[in-house]
Amino acid sequence: MNRFTRGRSWLFAAALLVSAARSAAAQLAIPGAGEDRFGLLLAGQTISVTTGDARLAFNWTNDPHLTADDSCRQFQRGTPQYRDCLFRSVDTSQTFIDLTAGISGQKGERSLFANGTITPGYDLGVAVTRRLESASAHHGGYTDVYAGVIATSRPLTFATITPSGSATVADASERTVGLTTGVNFFLRENFAVGIGGGVKRAWSTPGLQKAMNVCTSTASGTTAAGQIVQVSTCDDGYTGPLADQWIDSVRLDVLKNFTRTKMDPASGDIVAVATVGVIGSVNVNHRTGTAAVYNLAVGPTLHPKGVPHKVLLAAVFGFADVSDAANQGKTLRDKFGVQLYFGVPLTGF
């Protein structure tokens, strides 16, 4: 006998994400609720995310030869022409290539391991970013234009019950392939606004369904008091049949760091103090035949002292499917979740 019970969804979930790059330091993923990936780039690296399901990811960014062509020896050192020549050398554009690979838990579950076995899903991505530098004489800042391809595969369990009452429980993999593109405007080195969009094709997807418990009764009996006792094995899953859908999305991301320096009274030098920041995301997803899904995410970030472009810790508060697009009666508890992200200092610290 099969039965469905509503499972937990969007509880306080913590996910550890490790990113490693060849030249830059470990980079932290910053999430956008309901999104597989977040658009902003930090330190030239793609930011990948989890959205409540566990995921472990590694990120690689190529090591572009950034050195400019200028030789400034033709100008007298210290003259305005010499300074202009030096500044030009850091204003040249660059192109980055990002590769991202990750393993993830079974869709709807919060762990990479279930019942002692790994439940592997994977995602692969490649993105090309063209970075256009600000040519301002006084300010930094830059603009990243990026485009990429993402493919994912996530195992899941689903149950199908026919009107006649017969039931089946089966395993499947939700697979997606899509394109993503966007522009991140770093108006200052510590302030960015990103807009982006994407479209992808999903096969064998449960769509907007909430994860539920799919239980198979293995034994049952009646107590002396007449109570029915059932012994069941349960797994997180969905109701079938699964569908093939197109998914399009649009998002807006904001990142702001608050950096502070102070004068060291002993040495008279400028010294760095701890840096905090805030990151936020609004995104809208639309699937074939369903209403649009609105997701919000916002949270504080903590950066290493004097290293504001790297993130040590982030706590992101996510509100997924704010409008309950499928009218599933989602409560605030269903929609709200907090994810903790820890930056692992592999290099550069």
Binding site: S23, T67, Y82, L86, F87, V90, H139, E189, T261, A272
Partner: protein, 106 residues
């Protein structure tokens, strides 16, 4: 190190320079106005040969980075190092240093 006499009587030397910069998002280092090629993003390093002709060596680092970023600069000429450490106070700035050539054995 190769030395040769200039037409004006000054002595020039072609020297090998190695530099590294850790901190700002972008940076370039010039030794007597000559660019030292580097690779990397926030942590950069490189080396090259430059021609020096004065009793002093001028080193300029130009950078773009977030205010509060700590910068570590190392310049090694003929294997002799000079190191600087400072905190970025502007998003885009130039820091200049001058060393006696004798510090590098020139």
């Amino acid at each position: 190190m190769a030395k040769k006499a200039h037409a004006a009587g000054r002595v020039t030397a072609t020297v090998h320079v190695a530099v590294s910069v850790d901190g700002p998002r972008r940076s370039e280092v010039f030794v007597d106005g000559q660019l030292i090629p580097m690779t990397g993003t926030f942590k950069r390093a490189g080396e090259g040969d430059v021609e020096l002709a004065a009793a002093e060596v001028g080193v300029d680092i130009v950078l773009k980075g977030q205010i509060g970023t700590e910068t570590a600069l190392t310049v090694a000429i003929n294997g002799r190092k000079q190191q600087e450490h400072f905190v970025t106070v502007q998003e885009k700035e130039i820091r200049s240093f001058t060393y006696p050539s004798a510090d590098f054995g020139l």
